[in-house]
């Protein structure tokens, strides 16, 4: 792969909490590169550092040391290199949550278009893009429905649409299939693979769902804050 194909480049990233006897090393010198179109899984037992790594890549948590580049931009090198991390997330990163986390007071369409609204898209274009995405994810017929009335699968697809709305090139997913049955989980993973390919994006997912392991290009194992193999 060419260097320009690297979307996530994490080098020597460490993160510890506390000091002295209470010090906990959540990540120890982690190196990870994720390329365009790749769909990778972060695996490991509870407390192994999966979510911490996801938070570091998502620019939610500052590492203690190391360097992070996203889509060719250095964002952390011993300190944050950008002050507008939320804007960075808005432009480059899409999040898919375990519990979909749709805003309950917005319809499915609004949950998607709110991201575009925040990104400064004109309202009508935002609505069109939201409808297109919902149609693409086969939940267009539920566009005007609020999350409370959506099934688990529908809500997760709306959440995926929201994550993709601003065409981010890095999609981070935290247990994206945990709330779905086996069949739905396979469908969602196939969809994510297709999206990664179509949008030239990469997908990094934390998962425990063995039934979908075969849908990932790489399985990254973490133990005690270290990558053990990949």
């Amino acid at each position: 792969m060419a260097p320009g194909d690297i979307l996530v480049d994490v080098r020597g990233v460490a993160k510890h909490y506390g000091e002295g006897e209470t010090r906990v090393d959540a990540l120890r010198s982690v190196d990870l590169r994720v390329h365009v179109g790749e769909v990778i899984a972060l695996l490991g037992p509870s407390g192994s550092g999966k979510t911490t790594l996801l938070n570091v890549i998502g620019c939610i948590l500052a590492p203690t040391a190391g360097r992070v580049e996203l889509d060719g931009d250095a964002v952390f090198d011993g300190k944050w290199l950008r002050s507008d991390l939320r804007r960075l997330r808005l432009d480059k990163i899409g999040f898919i949550f375990q519990a979909h986390n749709l805003l309950p007071f917005l319809t499915a369409e609004e949950n998607v278009s709110v991201v575009l609204d925040l990104a400064g898209w004109p309202a009508e274009r935002g609505r069109e893009r939201a409808r297109d995405l919902l149609d693409y994810l086969e939940v267009g017929h539920r566009a005007k429905v609020k999350p409370a009335l959506l099934s688990g699968g529908e809500a997760q697809r709306v959440a995926i649409a929201r994550a993709l709305a601003n065409r981010p090139r890095i999609i981070l997913a935290d247990e994206p299939t945990a709330a779905l049955d086996s069949g739905r989980a396979q469908l969602v993973m196939d969809l994510l693979r297709k999206l990664a390919s179509d949008q030239k994006a990469c997908i990094i997912a934390v998962t425990h769902d063995e039934k979908i392991f075969d849908r990932f290009d790489r399985l990254i194992h973490l133990r005690d804050g270290r990558l053990v193999d990949s």
């Binding site: 509870s46 979510t51 996801l54 938070n55 998502g58 939610i60 948590l61 939320r86 804007r87 997330r89 808005l90 432009d91 999040f95 949550f97 375990q98 519990a99 986390n101 805003l103 309950p104 007071f105 917005l106 609004e110 278009s113 709110v114 991201v115 609204d117 925040l118 990104a119 309202a123 609020k146 929201r162 935290d174 247990e175």
Partner: protein, 377 residues
């Protein structure tokens, strides 16, 4: 996309109930403001009614409202002859209870000389006193109507007209009678008591006395000079209209005014705490959604806007409900509830300020939320 409005519409029933609760609280606050104003307005109404420039009262007293005052009725002629005085009238005040159609009416009887200062400024229904005896003008709040008769003392009076907003500082509605009738009402005794007095050798020849003489001055006349001149008469004192008003507020209604003012302060403080609590709770319930918004890239101004807009909508809605309710029920209060546009404006300012301060607590909590909490463990 206005997230505040979307959120309100999502939980509209609950939001409306909250606004209604706040509205009821605002109604109480507005009622207290109205009662406070009413107390002052009622107290001043009786002083303002004669539209006098100078009040001549008994020496050494601050009558006739703050203290009892009794001066010879003939004082009126002496005052009327003074340089600069345009007209003068004698006036009496007394509170009586009268039984009427099975109920007890507590009335503030004002005796005045028709055609001279001391009577009501405006008659809203019926006519003025046309005869020298047994007619009265009643404040509408007495419940009396023109043509009706009522027994005061030993005589029966006919209501010939109605006035409005005439009462004493205690809120007792006023009735106006001629000075002659008022003096009779003050001095007339039961025949048996009069016989006892006569047997004691008291012929009842004391000259009639009145509470005060009110005077209107000619244009350009000096009030200070006139009051100073009156004070030279050892048995009399004089107060200007503004002195009389100040005296009334400072002595007669001062304690009640401070009591209501203090209660109003407490009520406003309670309202502020309640509003702060509601807004803070509303924000705390949305922390997960706020974390999600932060995670997907919403700037702080979007989150602050969500909380502050909801706080302001809540406060303004509560105030609007409060205003609507108080205007619906204010006439049902036994005493006058006086609300001026200025009061509503000041309260709006206070509520907006409280909402902004209260939303500050919510904003602080929201801005501290870690976006990572949206991701879960």
């Amino acid at each position: 996309m206005n997230l505040a409005i979307k959120d309100i519409r999502h939980g509209l029933f609950r939001f409306v109930l909250t606004c209604l609760g706040l509205g009821l609280l605002m109604t109480v606050v507005l009622a207290m403001i109205g009662i406070y104003n009413g107390l002052v307005a009622d107290a001043l109404a009786v002083v303002k009614a004669p539209a006098a420039d100078v009040w001549v009262v008994e020496a050494g007293t601050q009558g006739p409202f703050a203290e009892a005052s009794s001066i010879p009725a003939t004082t009126r002629d002496a005052v009327a002859r003074m340089p600069g005085v345009a007209e003068a009238g004698a006036i009496t005040y007394q509170t009586i209870e009268a039984s009427h159609t099975g109920r007890t009416l507590r009335l503030y009887v004002i005796g005045f000389e028709p055609g001279r200062p001391g009577g009501p400024q405006r008659i809203t229904e019926g006519r003025g006193l046309g005869r020298s005896h047994f007619e009265l003008l009643a404040d509408r709040k007495t419940g009396l109507v023109p043509g009706e008769t009522i027994r005061l003392g030993r005589d029966r009076f006919t209501v010939v007209g109605l006035v409005e907003d005439a009462m004493n500082s205690g809120g007792d509605p006023a009735v106006y009678v001629t000075l002659a009738d008022a003096l009779t009402l003050q001095t007339a005794m039961d025949p048996a008591a009069a016989r006892v007095q006569a047997a004691r050798g008291d012929g009842g020849l004391r000259p009639p006395t009145v509470a005060a003489v009110v005077a209107r001055l000619q244009p350009g006349a000096d009030v200070t000079l006139l009051t100073a001149t009156v004070r030279q008469w050892k048995h009399l004192s004089a107060l200007s209209q503004s002195e009389q008003e100040q005296l009334l507020l400072a002595s007669v209604v001062d304690r009640a005014r401070r009591q209501i003012g203090l209660f109003l302060g407490i009520l406003l403080s309670v309202s502020a705490v309640v509003i702060a609590l509601i807004i803070y709770t509303m924000t705390m319930e949305k922390l997960k959604q706020i974390a999600t918004l932060k995670l997907i890239g919403a700037p702080d101004r979007t989150i602050v806007g969500l909380i502050v807009q909801q706080a302001l909508i809540l406060g303004i809605s509560g105030l609007a409900i409060g205003l609507a309710l108080i205007f619906l029920v204010k006439d049902s209060f036994p005493r006058r509830v006086v609300l001026e546009p200025f009061n509503a404006l000041v309260l709006t300012g206070i509520i907006l300020m409280v909402c902004l301060v209260a939303s500050g607590l919510g904003v602080r909590a929201a801005l501290k939320v870690d976006p990572a909490t949206a991701l879960g463990g």
